[in-house]
Amino acid sequence: MTESTAARHPRRSSKRTSGSDGGSAAATAAPETPGAPAKKAAARKTPAKKAPAKKAAAKKTAAPAKKTAPAKKAKPARTAKTAKAAAKTAEAAGKAPVGSRPLPQGDGADASELVQLLTPEGERVEHPEYAVDPSPEELRALYRDMVLTRRFDAEAVTLQRQGELGLWPSLLGQEAAQVGSGRATREDDYVFPTYREHGVAWCRGVDPTLLLGMFRGVNNGGWDPNSNNFQLYTIVIGSQTLHATGYAMGVAKDGADSAVVAYFGDGASSQGDVAEAFTFAAVYNAPVVFFCQNNQWAISEPTERQTRVPLYRRAAGYGFPGVRVDGNDVLAVLAVTRKALEHARSGQGPMLIEAYTYRMGAHTTSDDPTRYRRDDERAAWEAKDPILRLRTLLERENLADEAYFAGLDEESDALAKRVRESIRTMADPDPMAIFENIYADGHSVVDEERTQYAAYQASFADSADFADEAGAAAGKGH
């Protein structure tokens, strides 16, 4: 496959000013998907006309010995657009179909089922089963985590708007659920996130700038899961709950007292994988905490589309405890998650936590929530803001002064600046990276395609870089 190296010729794609493939990307971008992050247009050379290869003389001389004329197909019946009878049925369809049954509304839970330790008004309240007694310093630390997480998230949204990221799933409103649970974990615990757990990543010590690569389109993951015991983001809904369960099974086999947290959403609760994870965790008594952030929405579908009971009650059917916690109350989330982790560590098996919260923003930067939810719903949740209520407490009890808040503002600005700078210096990956890390032990087809591709690239007059790569890649084959 070296024909292409034989003659170095210019790329002809430059003829297509609009770009045959990238051109329509922005227009096509799904509301749920990103438009391609603005990519530097590759400098395409003006084509020097290359003489088209002369039609080679037929190598095969023999005329077809017997040639069957393609049998004329009998024309199948044309699709008739309308059957009159069908139209009649359609008329009937306008009415409610016979046998259509009314659907119940809501999930039937009442307020007493919600564990809360800090009210939206910033009042500390007691709960018979769950308690935390944080020092002022700990309270400030939780506040700081939430503030910085929110700021990081807002910066990422801005970067998406500026075309630096293709997409961003905002965690706005879910800071307490993520920081409370993230801070409950121990260093040796292991976390399996969805794609929205930026606050948990923060608590695990993952450099926030690493979270951006996947959404900028420079990688499909971007960090070493083992460096902070924080697995890669998982986009396919629900899958990670099984991985978490398996990991927890391994922890138990090793006799370790670590625990595992599996994050998932209200929508994900419908996936078969999640049901199977519950079954496996229960049957093997695996030390895993299922942490469901019920943010009331799965893109455009409200939680009623996924369940008819409060999600936490599902645990009972599998034989392990479930609890619903005020997901906007960082203290309650911390207390409940600590207890669940302790439960897992001490050999009592899995637990399900439903953090009752709200997705304040759009599903992602590509989504338009005005199509499916009312503004007043958001307003009602704004009054329950997770950061505001802790600030109220800090201020009322004089646990933080003006200097503290001013200092935190500065720290936020610095973080935002660092994030902006990191993205602007984030290099595009080398095209040959397509062929890297596909197998641990290598694969001859990958090797062959890598070599061919390098040779192909090297065949262009403007691709001096690839000429070296072609040689290197050729040597790499086995």
Partner: protein, 326 residues
């Protein structure tokens, strides 16, 4: 309405609308297909007009969507299900392969499974992973399923009509990066058969065979080649299972050369099947081996590399050059 210019996505909307008007048994089911109108807005307005009983926002579970669609079909409905993105069909793969594809045969032909599974597929939109894949070969490989992919709004309209009318399960692959490309839709024309290929551009020197998103790319290649004095024929296969091998054969007997182009990986891809069958049918007409241009044996790369991964003008022309050089 007769002839109207519309985007490919809107042609699918119009087709769903017609199908639902014509037959009360047609249901649209999927994630976010209701109020939101689907993430690509393909089902926009349908729930408003046909109600929540017929345009159904499903729980977030693809296996559930397809499994229950099978049950609805057994009960006499004609479900048209939407899978939100190519990469999310796999939770349903078990239901599709082990149940949907085989039930007609297992029941000795006594039951029919008129289920259509719409899958927006392919890359070129700068998406995150699992949003840009071309898994058609994984379905075309399974007996009992039919797989088609329109490349124009007119075909999108009519092929979906035909898929819904079909008593077999049809996987309907929608070229998502072409959703907003406009073309004429003649809603009163009489369409050709669903699984017949179409000559998208006539030529004499070499045949480019493609389907879905790559047809446009191949037409651009043919235009560029014409400027260089090479005459390429472009065949829009339209159907990946079955494949209209007669049409490919006719074209190859004329041109003597064939390049198959698809976004899906070449390794075990549909190009391999076409190459093998056409080599057998046209051995004495072929002036060059059948070449393929497609994805690599690699996971779909991150968005900033997808231009390198997807067949484009240069890569297809490179294959054309190589075929012509024989």
């Amino acid at each position: 309405m007769a002839v109207e210019k519309m985007a490919l996505a809107k042609a699918i909307t119009a087709s769903l609308r017609t199908a639902m008007e014509d037959d009360a048994k047609v249901l649209v089911i999927g994630e976010d297909v209701g109020k939101l109108g689907g993430v690509f807005r393909v089902t926009d307005g349908l729930q408003k007009d046909f109600g929540e009983d017929r345009v159904i926002d499903s729980p977030l579970a693809e296996s559930g969507i397809v499994g229950t669609a099978i049950g609805l079909a057994l009960r006499g409905y004609r479900p048209v299900v939407e899978i939100q993105f190519d990469g999310f069909v796999f939770p349903a793969y078990d239901q599709i392969v082990t149940q949907l594809a085989k039930m007609h045969a297992r029941a000795l032909g006594t039951v029919k499974l008129p289920v259509v599974i719409r899958i927006p597929y392919g890359g070129g939109i700068g998406a995150v992973e699992h949003h840009s894949e071309s898994p058609e070969a994984l379905f075309a490989h399974v007996a009992g399923l039919k797989c088609v992919s329109p490349s124009t709004p007119g075909d999108a309209y009519w092929m979906l009509q035909q898929a819904i009318h079909s008593d077999d399960p049809v996987i309907f692959f929608e070229p998502k990066r072409r959703y907003w490309d406009k073309g004429e839709v003649n809603t009163s024309a009489i369409p050709g058969p669903l699984h017949e290929a179409r000559v998208a551009r006539e030529g004499t020197d070499l045949t480019l065979a493609a389907y879905g998103p790559m047809v446009k790319t191949c037409l651009e290649v043919a235009a560029a080649a014409a400027e260089e004095g090479t005459s390429l024929e472009v065949l829009d296969l339209r159907s990946m299972s079955p494949i209209d091998f007669d049409a490919v054969q006719r074209s190859v007997e004329k041109t003597g050369r064939l390049v198959v182009v698809h976004e899906a990986p070449v390794f075990y891809g549909s190009g391999g099947e076409i190459a093998a069958r056409i080599t057998e049918r046209c051995f004495y007409h072929l002036e060059a081996p059948v070449l393929r241009v497609g994805g690599f044996h690699a996971p779909y790369p991150p968005a900033r590399l997808e231009e390198e991964y997807l067949p484009n003008l240069d890569r297809v022309l490179d294959a054309v050059d190589r075929a012509l050089a024989y």
